[in-house]
């Protein structure tokens, strides 16, 4: 079987190089409230529908890690988590994504 590599520039991680962020180093504006809940969640849809892959299931630790620093603040996880288990706030004033074009 031929393994196809993703085309250059097609991965979200590469696309985010172009996006400007001002990261709040002190605190995450996204908090998974109950880690047990994620362990019980079968589909873990947040790991799929987040447009920038903020959420990742760590099999070893049995928990979701939250890379809030690349969040573009769309709000989909707030609505899409089947257990409303994500506390979603805006980053502190002036922090978070800063679009250049919009």
């Amino acid at each position: 079987m031929q393994v196809t590599q993703p085309a250059p520039g097609s991965r979200v991680e590469e696309k985010l190089y172009n996006v400007r962020f001002k990261t709040d180093e002190d605190q995450s504006h996204l908090i998974v409230m109950d880690a047990q809940m994620c362990a019980r969640c079968t589909d873990k849809p947040c790991t799929t529908f987040c447009p920038v892959n903020v959420y990742k299931w760590e099999t070893g630790d049995r928990k979701i890690t939250v890379s809030y620093e690349k969040c573009v603040e769309c709000g989909a996880c707030r609505i899409g988590c089947p257990y409303f288990n994500i506390e979603w706030r805006y980053p502190k004033g002036g922090f978070g994504v800063q679009y250049k074009f919009g």
């Binding site: 085309a7 520039g9 097609s10 991965r11 979200v12 696309k15 985010l16 172009n18 996006v19 001002k22 589909d43 849809p45 799929t48 529908f49 987040c50 447009p51 920038v52 892959n53 573009v72 603040e73 769309c74 709000g75 989909a76 707030r78 609505i79 899409g80 409303f84 979603w88 706030r89 805006y90 980053p91 502190k92 004033g93 002036g94 978070g96 994504v97 800063q98 679009y99 250049k100 074009f101 919009g102």
Partner: protein
């Protein structure tokens, strides 16, 4: 800017997007003391839309706006594509009339436009404070009397709060107006701005210098999810986006960037983007529940406008205009309320009446019907595009078969896929839901 606390204003507007800035501008023009609070570094840095702003509704805020505002291109050509994996059915409307004053629509990039728009509000006398998150409303005796910001001593008092804080509108939830939207009441859209030279854009899209085109792309663009893709021409870039209902992303376990790459790599889309350089990737939600999903838009001391109020009509690519017009109606009510000194829910309910009487609610009620119909009919996404393409393929392939035999073959093929009764019901249902 430092706020001296406690500050008091006639109106505090939360959010410097289209609705918030329009409200601030008009309130200042009406001589009111207005503060607009924005969480971004500058107005626009948090704001995303596909990119089409309409001339006439925007003139209801600032007459002749397009002569000064940073627009990209006036839109003279609007195209509609229906894609399958290897084919396309297309329709469109182009008019030279749209290429001359007073124009119909312009492509815009929100970061540039919103900055300009906010400058107009400031020049009119509004106060703008940026880098500031509004965290809650302040209540006294059950009435909203101001907002709490994330700043020290950041309480701001006002007779009326206008929530213009976009699709996520945490403020209207804090004010108790809103529950949470359901995943089938929002679309999740990703967009890329792709640089391309002016000449190349004009050649590829068959445009005269400084004319613009839009393409709305249905079918295979969304991997059979309810939504569509788009390509809009800017001055020297393209806005390329694709979105679908959040509930469809969840159900089909599709990642939005995977959808974006699928869309960009469709052979017919790829050809248009070739050689372009991606400059920014973004994601945004659009309220798509229509009238059925709207929260109450007023309460004691508070009004909700634009996306925060769920005002969008995606099938006609309208949203920016609804934001602007709702802001204008809200301002009218604010001015009346101040004349009477009455900021009660009863006085502010006039805003809902004005919305109801405007084209906005008429369109949004119709849109609810459309959205509910197509959500229940996956055939329109999964079956009909392929049948239509096969039928056209049969009809337009010249192969020495009599036309009547071809027509019979098409009919057999369609009926093999869908019973006549269901076909009729779908056709009538689709027409009804759209009218």
């Amino acid at each position: 800017m430092i706020l001296s606390a406690p500050d008091r204003y006639d109106v505090v507007v939360v959010g410097a997007g289209l609705a918030g800035t329009a409200a601030s501008y008009l309130l200042a023009k009406a001589g009111m003391n207005v503060l607009c609070v924005e969480r971004g570094e500058e107005p626009g840095t948090k704001n995303v839309m596909g990119g089409i702003l309409y001339r006439q509704p925007t003139e209801k805020i600032i007459p002749g706006w397009w002569k000064d505002a940073p627009t990209e291109r006036p839109i003279v050509d609007e195209r509609l594509w229906l894609l399958t994996q290897d084919s396309m059915v297309q329709a469109g409307f182009r008019s030279a009339r749209y290429g001359e004053e007073p124009y119909n629509a312009f492509s815009v990039l929100r970061v540039k436009f919103d900055k300009w728009f906010a400058d107009q509000a400031i020049a009119a006398g509004a106060t703008l404070v940026t880098n500031t998150v509004v965290e809650d409303v302040i209540r006294e005796n059950g009435r909203v009397v101001g907002v709490k910001t994330g700043r020290d001593q950041g309480d701001i008092y006002a007779n009326i709060v206008i929530a213009a804080d976009g699709v996520n509108s945490l403020l209207s939830k804090r004010a108790g107006l809103h529950g949470e939207l359901a995943p089938n009441q929002v679309a999740l859209v990703t967009k890329e701005v792709i640089n391309m030279s002016r000449e190349k854009i004009e050649d590829r899209f068959l445009l005269n210098p400084n004319e613009g085109a839009t393409i709305e792309i249905f079918g295979d663009s969304t991997m059979a999810m309810l939504g569509y893709g788009f390509i809009y021409t800017n001055r020297d870039s393209l806005s390329v986006g694709v979105g679908a209902l959040l509930s469809d992303f969840i159900r089909k376990k599709i990642n939005p960037n995977v959808l974006m790459e699928h869309f960009k790599n469709h052979p017919m889309v790829k050809k248009l983007l070739e050689g372009g350089e991606a400059k920014e990737y973004m994601a945004h939600m659009i309220p798509e529940g229509g009238a059925a999903a709207m929260p109450p838009v007023y309460s004691d001391g508070i009004l909700v406008v634009g996306d925060a109020a769920g005002l969008s009509n995606p099938i006609y690519r309208e949203g920016s205009n609804l934001a602007l017009i709702s802001a204008k109606l809200a301002v009218q009510v604010c001015v009346e309320a101040h004349q009477r000194g009455d900021f009660s829910a009863h006085a502010l309910s006039r805003y809902k009446t004005l919305l109801d009487e405007s084209f906005i609610m008429d369109d949004l009620r119709a849109y609810s019907k459309t959205s509910q119909f197509f959500q229940k009919k996956p055939e329109f996404l999964e079956k009909y595009p392929g049948l239509l393409v096969d039928a056209l393929h049969e009809l337009l392939t010249v192969d020495s078969v009599p036309k009547r035999a071809k027509q019979r073959k098409i009919l057999r093929q369609v009926l093999a896929n869908r019973r006549p009764w269901d076909l009729a019901k779908d056709a009538i249902g689709a027409l009804r839901s759209l009218t």
